[in-house]
Symmetry: C2
Subunit: 368 residues, 2 copies
């Protein structure tokens, strides 16, 4: 198992990550505490898709004392957005709605440029624009959502990044990210840029504002490093909510933007989406007869995972699908058909909002 | 002997630096070539204060083909400006006048913050403002001179810095700057920011413009590293002119801003300047009798060095002082008196222009 911001490989053991990264599991007490404020529990929390956290009880203490938090998450533009990317963003949009939270959304357009040989800043600029449309399409409040693009907003970010960087040695970076002496100095510095938005609103307003970061757990390492630094600069450590990875189309592995055959992109046509789901790894049996008799395995069935993680928020409907598939009443083709319909409904709506987002871009990009 | 951007220690052997750094000595053929364009040779060239270079013949080839160059130098704000700092700037101002060159002047206000424990960004912000006044006071053309302040102008600089950084590994930085695994990641990245102004005008105008960097030879290492990178990004390697260090007030060592007893600051009062010169290390003999008989040593006499390097541009007058001192005709007290007069005339004029500079600050700071 490898889980770094640049590579996720092998069977991911989430319990082991909680232990190794030193995070806490999200338990029912925490869910109840969140529900007190939100009136409901988002299906990604109910289904343990967000499964781990740091300092959520502290964040809620602060909130209950009247200290509102802001949200921070991001997207390193290096290709088109796929369904897996949407998980933390869909969830963050829900948090924004429920808590009236400001959202600072970072597009570190230098990150993948520094880490990949064959990606230019012109490429990442193009993807930044494309990826911003996907974020806007999810319905974030333009009045409360601020996009930060590293190369564009370095004028406000770099100063805070160097404050953070002063407290991080190369030894720490080497141990945390697996870098070597052959790593380039931009990649070495980069984590300070990723750490910056968690304190930027506080720095700009000259007051300490709590921060909540929903993210895929592969990104946790940046904050394992930076959370030691923030208090030295007089800032709170941010709270974090960690999500699991979305399964790729093939057996095992996560959905990966760098492997087009593993991913459903938000811009896929209905025909492409249909074809991809029809070819997706299934939890069904080799023959219809066997399937009817022994039942399928929804826990490894990729189309079912997409319903569970994103496309079917209704627990009752999801359970029926689960049970029917497991009992053999529902065949793999039928499971795929349900997924394709849900997916194409989702994509059609998303693509419509994505088109409308082109007019909104300017409202979301932060004005210094 | 130690010569790094952060420390100059011991007897500096300039011939050895030329060899070790792989630069070229400035010879009479080059001086003649420069004179063809300037009509005269600046006393800092005549007196070998600028003693070494890189690619000056290439720069003049380009100039003679009609390709104008721009100037780039800088000042890392960490304290008040002293006479030693002025050497490359006075010279650069002359180049600006003679060649009609644009000047990009960098104030890397994060550099010393990252490298010193007890310096805050608030300190460097204060010194940036103070140091800018000294640069303006030297008479640079406000229409052709652009100040870059790293934390302020990172919005245009960071993007080019990451392009450079991608081509520099930690191994290179370690070997070049003597950094270790305990060095902070901001300091490790910093050289990419110092390398940036040499290509920034070219990047902004999307055309390759030759660059000339006059600097103290302790800063050469940044460009030894970056000059390998520029061509990979499609830019020229900049030409460089290297100056020697100004002697400190005490025996041996260079004038150092971090040692107030070694330096004459541009803001010293006439009484302070007088006292410092009177206490400066002298090349005289122990007694007047001995001095009259054996003569003094102007080559180690600190007040004479200040006349030679900055305060007495007239070669004839300087030679007479040299000869009179060496023959014993001139006593150390008389040498000091000449230096004090010249120095206080210089400081009075500088301080007047420095005061006037406060109104000009805004014209010099680059507008994005």
């Amino acid at each position: 198992m490898v889980v770094t911001p640049w590579e996720v490989k092998g069977d991911v053991d989430y319990d082991r990550l909680v232990k190794e990264f030193g995070t806490e599991k999200i338990d029912s007490a925490l869910l109840k505490r969140i529900e007190k404020h939100t009136g409901e529990i988002h299906f990604m929390l109910r289904r343990n898709i967000f499964f781990s956290h740091r300092d959520m009880n502290w964040l809620l203490n602060e909130y209950e004392k009247g200290s509102k938090f802001f949200l921070y998450t991001g997207r390193a533009p290096s290709g088109p957005v796929h369904l897996g990317h949407l998980i933390p963003w869909v969830f963050a949009k829900w948090i924004q709605d429920k808590f009236g939270a400001e959202m600072w959304f970072q597009f570190p357009d230098e990150e993948k440029f520094l880490l990949k040989d064959n990606l230019s800043l012109e490429d990442t600029a193009k993807y930044t624009r494309e990826n911003m449309l996907d974020v806007i399409a999810l319905g974030f409040d333009p009045k409360k959502t601020h996009f930060l693009i590293d190369t564009k907003h370095a004028g406000i970010m770099y100063k805070e990044a160097v404050r953070i960087a002063k407290h991080i040695t190369f030894s720490t970076i080497k141990a945390s990210f697996g870098f070597t002496d052959s790593t380039n100095i931009g990649a070495i510095f980069y984590t300070a840029m990723q750490a910056t938005p968690a304190i930027l609103p506080s720095a700009m307003k000259k007051k300490n504002i709590p921060c909540l970061i929903p993210l895929g757990i592969d990104q946790d390492v940046h904050f394992r490093v930076a959370r030691d630094v923030y208090p030295k600069l007089g800032y709170y450590k941010p709270a974090i909510l960690h999500s699991k990875f979305m399964a790729g189309l093939k057996e095992g592995g996560k959905m990966s933007a760098s492997d087009p055959m593993s991913a459903i992109y938000t811009t896929d046509t209905p025909a492409e989406a249909k074809k991809k789901i029809n070819n997706a790894f299934s939890g069904g049996r080799d023959t219809v007869e066997e399937h009817r008799k022994l039942g399928g395995n929804p826990d490894i069935d990729v189309p079912f995972q997409y319903l569970r993680m994103l496309l079917e928020p209704d627990d009752k409907k999801l359970k029926k699908i689960y049970d029917d598939y497991k009992s053999g009443k529902m065949l793999s083709g039928e499971m795929k058909q349900i997924c394709i319909e849900k997916l194409n409904t989702f994509l059609a709506a998303h693509q419509k909002k994505r088109e409308e987002a082109k007019k909104l871009l300017d409202r979301f990009i932060f004005k210094e």
